[in-house]
């Protein structure tokens, strides 16, 4: 590390700090992962594939609460970023942990949903709808867990007084995870026809 700080903050051949550019690159690749799955889901649904009527068995209430939780977590992580820009480390630390808390609530609700569905026999091999449901929501939940772990690590860094730029980077990632859920919610919970 040079005297000017980490490369992620000061090197900017494109006019954008390398760390932020790298984060956007990562998200561009994530568009293919989730976008590809969403595209396949839509194609099979439009084709009238048997099993997709099971969308009526998902809980709109649970999905809506989870959407509320993730939207609120997006607010808390952007407030963490705003706080660290003003140099308020403690406030930023606090908002990051609120976000981790919201992530945990999301996962608890998702686990409750999974348990209910599995008890009623709707497992990943039940039909194509449930295969998509568990693959896409499971992959999304893994992203939530990954984001929570990284946020926890970053929170301790900023408390010690370094790597402030990472709050913005994990924030961008977390908002993307929120964006994916914004599309999964109507796909699996609302469009039941």
């Amino acid at each position: 590390m040079s005297m000017r700080g980490p490369i992620a903050t000061h090197r900017s051949a494109t006019g954008i700090p390398t760390g932020r550019l790298g984060t956007w690159w990562l998200l561009a690749s994530e568009i293919f992962i989730f976008g590809g799955l969403i595209a396949c889901f839509i194609l099979f649904k439009l084709n009238g594939t048997p099993g997709f009527e099971d969308a009526s068995l998902t809980s709109v209430t649970a999905g809506a609460i989870n959407t509320f939780v993730l939207l609120t977590s997006s607010l808390s992580v952007v407030l963490a970023h705003a706080a660290i820009e003003k140099g308020d480390r403690e406030k930023s630390f606090k908002y990051i942990w609120y976000t981790i808390g919201f992530g945990l609530v999301f996962l608890i609700i998702k686990t409750y949903e999974y348990t209910g569905k599995i008890i009623h026999g709707h497992t990943i091999t039940d039909n194509l709808f449930w295969s998509f449901y568990y693959t896409m929501t499971g992959l999304h939940a893994l992203h939530v867990i990954g984001g929570m772990v990284i946020m926890a690590l970053i929170s301790f860094d900023i408390r010690k007084g370094y790597n402030f730029q990472r709050v913005e980077l994990i924030g961008i990632y977390w908002h993307f995870v929120d964006l994916v859920w914004i599309f999964l919610f109507p796909l699996f919970y609302i469009a039941n026809f």
Binding site: T67, L71, A82, D178, F183, P186
Partner: protein, 109 residues
């Protein structure tokens, strides 16, 4: 972040996101499929735009980020329309609709 720009009113945007969430949940209660499509996916697009533009600060980003994302979405479109005929068109001599007769599902399991 080294650039300086005005922060949007994050709480106000959050309020708007919640209003949109309420509309998307209420939409299916009218039991009009076409309207549900709009309230579900149309509002999802608006919500994602609000999050990307304001929370992800995309409206302050340089053009190269926009190009990067547009390129990704265009390639996704190529994937969608490239595979669509395989899934959507099931007529012709060489087509076997194995999902309908469940033969390929049994093979996979």
């Amino acid at each position: 972040m080294s650039e300086t720009h005005e922060h949007p009113n994050y709480v106000k945007i959050w309020y708007w996101l919640l209003v949109l969430l309420a509309i998307s949940v209420a939409g299916p209660m009218l039991e009009v499929p076409a309207l549900t499509l709009i309230t579900a996916f149309g509002i999802a697009i608006i919500k994602s735009f609000l999050v990307a533009a304001n929370y992800m600060h995309l409206k302050f980003e340089k053009k190269i980020i926009w190009l990067l994302l547009i390129l990704a979405l265009c390639l996704l479109g190529v994937f969608f329309f490239g595979t669509a005929p395989d899934i959507m068109m099931t007529e012709g001599d060489q087509w076997i609709d194995c999902i309908a007769d469940k033969s390929c599902i049994e093979q996979r399991l």
